[in-house]
């Protein structure tokens, strides 16, 4: 659910100043609120389900200028914009929308970039329906808020289409070196911010392509990889160095990097450890973690096998266990790779599904089946050790648990067999343990998450910050980015104050062997 955040006084001031500008007053007058309320929500143009469920091209086509303008006109330009309260990073939403209405797309996207460094990505993957669009003031009256996400995507696509990507002014070099560990949305954001502040930034990434979950997890049909590529190129233009194929903790420890002269660190290593259910038969051939399945397909391009060397099973009857975005991406991928049955098997009911509403809707159109209130308890092998069926149990919903969602309880004697030839387990990921294991002074919480001071994102080690899924467990792109911005601001403060201070502790002291 949307958390209505208390706005900071600065944000309130910015919003007010924008609201009171002459052109905004004029614009509000040009179409009365009553008329605006009559405009119905503009539908995102998308490719036909039967066409798109066979390839990996993007599902949504994007608004054109006409549709974008119409949608922007729906926005009332409120004095107290509810939308901003639902946005985890406090984007000045009314200003960027009104700039679209008057056709000034370049200024509009720059407005977003003041608080959101990855608008083309967030416009596509943020769960807007539980954030800004949920708290939008017209949602109550109209049932649908302004389609803020679609508008965000529209202006950022315009920016990249025009090749008019704004390179901010880079502050004079400070001589300080910053190491960013992990090239997911959190790491990329910190890198951008710190480079703008004049620091020398190096990103260390374990995989061979930067982007984190955005490249290895989220499929092309939802987030084209070219978008990520341009984000990474943008960072390179800011002078950020990328060291891919470098596993911090193994290729070098954090301590080693410190001895190499890095002055500050950001840990953005994500929640890469796949969870399994620990039920019998889970290691049978044909049972994947969502991470493995999606990595084979997205990062290794197994959908182009044998032109690419990495293979992937082309299951005909595929069950995906789970109800989040990861499960939806997996099941829609399986459909695209030719599955006759591509089914979500989820232990709760539809309303509890954590996936974005749009993805569930798209999945339904594409022919995905949904088996709610069902959980597997055992996998059954054929004579070759491949999965051929799974035994399931029906569930019902009991009392709400700590997350507020009703807890699923098994119905006794409801066992039944479902025939499948491939299963994808998508029940969540845990924080990546590599850095905690190789960095003894780093405080780690109960679930393996790196502990931070939530106001500054500082960890238990001086000069080391963290953010994103490594501190939250599996969360969202926008939260990762929000953490990253706080961390970058604090890190910059730390480095500026540190200027004349002490030398780094001596090399040999701790953490060897």
């Amino acid at each position: 659910m949307a958390e209505k955040k208390e706005m900071s006084p600065e944000l309130k001031e910015t919003l007010r100043a924008g609201f009171n500008k002459e052109w905004r007053k004029e614009l509000r007058k040009s179409i009365p609120a009553k008329e605006r309320m009559k405009i119905s929500s503009q539908k995102m143009p998308e490719r036909e389900p039967e066409e798109r469920n066979k390839d990996f091209n993007e599902v949504n086509i994007g608004l054109d200028a006409k549709l974008a303008k119409k949608e922007a006109q729906r926005c009332l330009d409120c004095a107290n914009p509810g939308c901003v309260m639902g946005c985890p990073v406090g984007i000045d939403i009314p200003t960027f929308i009104k700039l679209i209405e008057i056709g000034d797309y370049v200024q509009s996207v720059r407005k977003i970039r003041e608080t959101n460094s990855l608008p083309a990505i967030c416009g596509r993957v943020c769960p807007q329906e539980v954030q800004c669009e949920e708290t939008c003031n017209i949602k109550k009256a109209k049932g649908e808020g302004v389609k803020i996400g679609n508008l965000e995507r529209f202006v950022s696509d315009y920016e990249s289409l025009k090749g008019d990507v704004y390179i901010p002014q880079i502050q004079p070099a400070t001589g300080k070196k910053v190491a960013v560990i992990g090239a997911g949305p959190a790491g990329l954001t910190v890198a951008g911010e710190m480079a703008r502040n004049g620091h020398k930034v190096t990103i260390f990434e374990a995989l061979h392509i930067s982007g984190g979950v955005l490249v290895y997890g989220i499929p092309e049909f939802r987030l084209p990889k070219s978008i990520l590529k341009s984000e990474v190129e943008y960072l390179e233009k800011l002078g950020v160095e990328l060291r891919e194929n470098f596993v911090v903790g193994l290729t070098a420890t954090l301590e080693d990097l410190k001895n190499d002269g890095y002055d500050a660190f950001f840990i953005g290593t994500g929640a890469g450890l796949p969870n399994f259910m620990r039920i019998p038969g889970e290691n049978l051939v044909g049972i994947y973690s969502a991470n493995e399945y999606l990595t084979r397909v997205n990062l290794m391009k197994a959908y182009e096998f044998p032109d690419y060397d990495t293979p992937v099973f082309l299951g005909k009857r595929v069950a995906v266990i789970g109800g989040g975005n990861v499960a939806m991406d997996s099941v829609r991928t399986a459909k695209r790779l030719g599955a006759e049955l591509a089914a979500i098997v989820y232990r709760r009911s539809r309303v509890e599904m954590p996936a974005r509403v749009e993805e569930v809707h798209h999945g339904e159109e594409e022919g995905i089946e949904f088996h709610f209130l069902t959980t597997p308890i055992r996998y059954i092998a054929d004579e070759k050790g491949r999965v051929k069926a799974m035994e399931c149990l029906r569930m019902k919903l009991g009392e709400p648990d700590s997350s507020g969602r009703r807890r699923p309880v098994p119905i006794e004697g409801s066992e039944f067999i479902m025939e499948v030839d491939m299963v994808v387990v998508a029940i969540g990921q845990s924080p990546n343990p590599l850095i905690p294991q190789t960095t003894p002074q780093l405080n780690v919480g109960k679930w393996g998450n790196v502990e931070v001071d939530w106001d500054t994102m500082a960890t238990s080690i001086e000069g080391v910050y963290a953010g994103g899924d490594i501190i939250r467990g599996g969360a969202t792109v926008i939260l990762a980015m929000g953490d990253a911005r706080i961390a970058a601001a604090e890190m910059h403060k730390y480095l500026s104050e540190k200027k004349k201070k002490r030398k780094v502790p001596s090399a040999e002291s701790k953490n060897k062997g």
Binding site: L207, T251, R278, M300, Y308, D309, P311, L434
Partner: protein, 278 residues
């Protein structure tokens, strides 16, 4: 990108590759591995680190040509580059004073046990090395291994070497002759490690094996490499690759390694057709 310094055929079907990777060379320990990708469209495949040179900044692996990726690697030339060379991955082998350690290696495992033998020797262990080859001409690195061994045996089917039997039998013969052996370490193909583990079981000699399940990332992110050891699921790339061979679920490992059998054949045919048209 990593530069290839050397690629050489050691014996038929087995090649050595030396790669410029100064950071990895600094950190390498016996028993660890790297992930290499032969070209941009290639697979990420794991290879054990067979040697390293900190001064030169290089890492060496030895591989057997089996499918598409290893075929591609066998054609890589010095001075060219591979897009991915990452490591050192996995936990290092446990190097301590055991007493007498028998190292049993076959195919690429002959090279893979070398750094372990060297490190164990330096720790003051007595080293018995036992290598397995199908024929005499397939033996390589004999000098290197002899140099770190107190006793040296070769099992070869056509042999003027010590013995003709397949390695587990020779291994049992050595044990039966009364040598007190405190630990066995076996590296090579899955079948060799399995049979060596079976051979030592009756004698209760702890036997470490270096498991080789299919991997993708090699950093604990995907779970492709899961193996069952002592009834529990482990990720070989981060919890291993070394495990107690007596506790491994071998049947599961054999079956999981065959996951893509048909695809591998298709992949190789496809590659051959495109690269060696008739």
């Amino acid at each position: 990108m990593a530069k290839i310094l050397q690629r050489e055929r050691l014996v038929p079907n087995i090649h050595l590759i030396e790669v410029h990777a100064p950071e990895i060379a600094q950190k390498s320990k016996p028993g660890q591995f790297v992930i290499i990708m032969p070209d941009e469209k290639g697979e990420r495949i794991p290879l054990t680190i067979a040697d390293w040179d900190k001064e030169k900044g290089s890492v060496t692996s030895v591989f057997m040509v089996v499918g598409t990726s290893t075929h591609k690697l066998s054609l890589v030339e010095a001075e060219s580059e591979v897009p991915v060379f990452v490591g050192p991955l996995g936990k290092p082998s446990e190097i301590k004073k055991y007493g007498t350690v028998l190292l049993a290696g076959g195919c690429f495992g002959i090279a893979a046990i070398y750094p372990i033998a060297r490190a164990l020797k330096e720790k003051g262990n007595k080293i018995i090395t036992l290598l397995d080859v199908k024929a005499n001409y397939l033996l390589y690195w004999e000098e290197r291994l002899r140099a770190v061994s107190d006793q040296f045996f070769v099992s070869s089917r056509d042999s003027y070497y010590n013995c003709k039997d397949y390695i587990p039998k020779t291994l049992q013969n050595i044990i039966k002759k009364g040598s007190k052996i405190n630990r066995v370490i076996s590296i090579g193909c899955t079948y060799l490690m399995y049979t060596c583990s079976e051979a030592t079981k009756p004698y209760g000699i702890e036997t470490s094996v270096s498991l080789n399940p299919i991997m993708v990332d090699g950093t604990g992110m995907c779970g492709a490499c899961r193996v069952t050891v002592d009834g529990r699921t482990k990720f070989a790339c981060v919890d291993g690759p070394d495990f107690n061979g007596h506790l491994v679920d071998w049947e599961e490992l054999f079956s999981r390694r065959k996951s893509y059998f048909d695809d591998e054949i298709q992949s190789l045919c496809h590659w051959e057709k495109n690269n060696f048209p008739r």
